[in-house]
């Protein structure tokens, strides 16, 4: 899974108030080249929770993202390439996503997160 997807997922176990962002426990992750598309990045930027993306990237060993961002930086090619790499090229293959509130663990196998809940969690 891309960090783009991680940025969008939350835990919805019964009663959880703040199931976002999910903490990443990585067993295996890899970089896969993706086509660099500035228009896409500008389009998706307003949808992104920046602190969550930055933390996730750092957990997976990429600490090039600046702490503060604004729309003006979307004109800067160097920034766009870093944003692109973090969002679209770092893939979590094996590991676990952990709910920050309940500690509920969601496994990720072969790049597919399993967000199914057990019957006592809904």
């Amino acid at each position: 899974m891309k960090l783009l997807t991680h940025n969008m997922l939350q835990c919805t176990v019964k009663g959880v108030k703040n199931g976002y962002p999910l903490k990443i426990e990585a067993v295996e992750f890899e970089d896969k080249e993706a086509e660099f598309n500035p228009d896409f990045l500008r389009h998706v930027f307003p949808k992104i929770d920046w602190p969550a993306l930055r933390d996730a990237a750092e957990t997976l060993g990429y600490s090039e993202l600046p702490p503060q961002v604004d729309e003006a930086m979307l004109e800067d090619d160097e920034f766009l390439r870093k944003f692109h790499h973090a969002l679209m090229e770092i893939h979590l293959e094996e590991g676990t996503l952990v709910c920050p509130e309940t500690g509920r663990r969601f496994p990720v196998n072969k790049g597919i997160p399993n967000m199914l809940l057990n019957e006592d969690e809904i």
């Binding site: 969008m8 919805t12 228009d39 949808k47 597919i112 199914l116 019957e119």
Partner: protein, 457 residues
């Protein structure tokens, strides 16, 4: 604003199954490419089989872009003249001789050809040539004729109205046109036909319908598009072809993991970026609030072919001991189609962008009425088109657009009486039914196929 007329020649595909879809696709594409209103130069034909629509556009490039995205059009033509009779059309065509934008076509050194197409009447080739000569001869062309590879093609389009089984219909209208571009219909349907796809299942959506859905969803490059019942990913493949970043989820691990092949193999086959796939339950939204998709597309399971399931159980819930957590298989229960629809609309109302569309397939039998459609105060019905499958059975392609921001307390309204889709399963599994028809379909994607019942989930 000066606008020219353009003639869309609809695909000669399966009119019977996609008749009304052609206008709806055209109107969606007009919205996608910002064609100014009104888009039609002439009212839509009340003949559902009529292969022509006449559009108004400030430029050829807009209608060309639309046509290149259309799967239900064959091509687009610039209208030089029209008339209620051949004579009137030729007279009107003569005005083009003084039109400075058409000087190019009256130069020497270019090649051209003339062709005839008639709807509702069969023309012999011996009748065509004199007609072409009359039209082209009325204008100061100096071009040389080249039938195989001309620079420009001029088409005389005759409309005799409905149905070839009624001979000697009076001529209704004539267009003298120049061909601009062929649609991408043929290459798209050939390249993405199910019968050559790496990974399909019994309910995979055929390429033609999947591309219509992507057009209804106004999918553009860079969009985030989500299918909450992804199955074999047949719908989001079409969205990915149009440049979207696609997401899919499914409760059933088998559809995600496949057998020997998986849905990821189909994306590799088409050289599309790997989709983001999540195992999850459509009744439990997994996306953070405030996160919005540009479009949601799906063919939900209604219990006809695929028994819909969701998380949870009706039995007593026992706490799962920590040591069993890793190996515990979450229980699932039957997912009532009416609940499923409500969940889908509530989700779309929250997690679609404003102006974004939810496009889904909806089964209908003879009991169907528009009252059966689920409704949500934030979502407006933009298209509701019937795909005819058999005398007793059809399915509808529903397009909803989010026109109001979601607020707490807004949710779907369910009809007072149980809608017809609530009983779809009972309707289909009658004792006399032959179970053999639920074999793997032959996947004749290019011609629309015939095993329609196979397609209903």
């Amino acid at each position: 604003l000066w606008r020219h007329k353009y003639l869309i020649w609809f695909a000669a595909g399966d009119f019977k199954h996609f008749g009304k879809f052609r206008y709806e696709e055209l109107e969606s594409l007009a919205q996608l490419y910002d064609l100014p209103h009104p888009i039609y130069a002439e009212p839509k034909s009340d003949d559902p089989d009529c292969p022509y629509a006449v559009l108004l556009s400030p430029s050829a490039s807009l209608v060309v872009q639309m046509t290149l995205r259309s799967v239900l059009s064959q091509g687009v033509y610039e209208v030089w003249a029209s008339g209620a009779s051949i004579e009137e059309c030729i007279e009107n065509g003569k005005l083009c001789a003084n039109d400075p934008t058409k000087e190019l076509f009256f130069q020497k050194g270019i090649t051209f050809c003339g062709r005839v197409r008639a709807y509702g009447k069969k023309f012999q080739s011996s009748e065509k040539l004199p007609l072409i000569t009359r039209f082209l001869g009325a204008l100061p062309f100096q071009a040389k004729v080249d039938l195989d590879n001309p620079d420009y093609e001029f088409w005389i389009m005759l409309d005799y109205g409905a149905a070839e089984n009624k001979p000697d219909q009076p001529l209704k209208r004539v267009f003298f046109t120049r061909k601009l571009v062929k649609s991408s219909r043929e290459p798209l349907l050939l390249q993405y036909a199910l019968n050559a796809r790496e990974y399909i299942g019994t309910t995979s959506t055929k390429a033609e319908l999947a591309f219509i859905m992507a057009n209804q969803a106004l999918v553009q490059p860079g969009d985030l598009v989500y299918d909450p019942f992804v199955g074999t990913a047949s719908i989001i493949i079409s969205c990915a072809v149009f440049g979207a970043t696609v997401f899919g989820s499914d409760i059933d691990i088998r559809v995600i993991k496949g057998n020997e092949k998986t849905l990821f193999d189909s994306f590799k086959q088409y050289k599309l970026p790997r989709p983001e796939i999540i195992r999850s339950d459509a009744s439990r939204p997994i996306w953070r609030s405030g996160m919005t998709f540009d479009a949601i597309v799906c063919d939900p399971p209604y219990g006809i072919r695929e028994g819909p399931r969701k998380s949870g159980t009706k039995k007593e819930i026992k706490e799962i001991a920590p040591e069993h957590l890793d190996s515990h298989i979450p229980r699932t229960q039957v997912y009532d189609p009416v609940m499923l629809m409500n969940d889908l609309l509530n989700f779309a109302a929250k997690n679609l962008k404003l102006g974004g569309r939810l496009v889904f397939l909806f089964p209908a039998n003879e009991e169907y009425s528009e009252e059966d459609l689920p409704k949500h105060p934030c979502l407006r019905l933009v298209a509701n088109c019937e795909q005819y499958l058999s005398r007793k059975l059809s399915r509808r392609l529903i397009t909803l657009e989010k026109n109001y921001e979601h607020q707490d307390g807004l949710s779907t309204s369910t009809p007072d009486e149980a809608p017809s889709h609530a009983r779809m399963k009972d309707h289909f599994f009658m004792k006399s039914e032959d179970p053999s028809r639920f074999k793997k379909p032959k996947n004749s994607a290019a011609n629309g196929g015939d095993e329609y019942k196979e397609e209903l989930r």
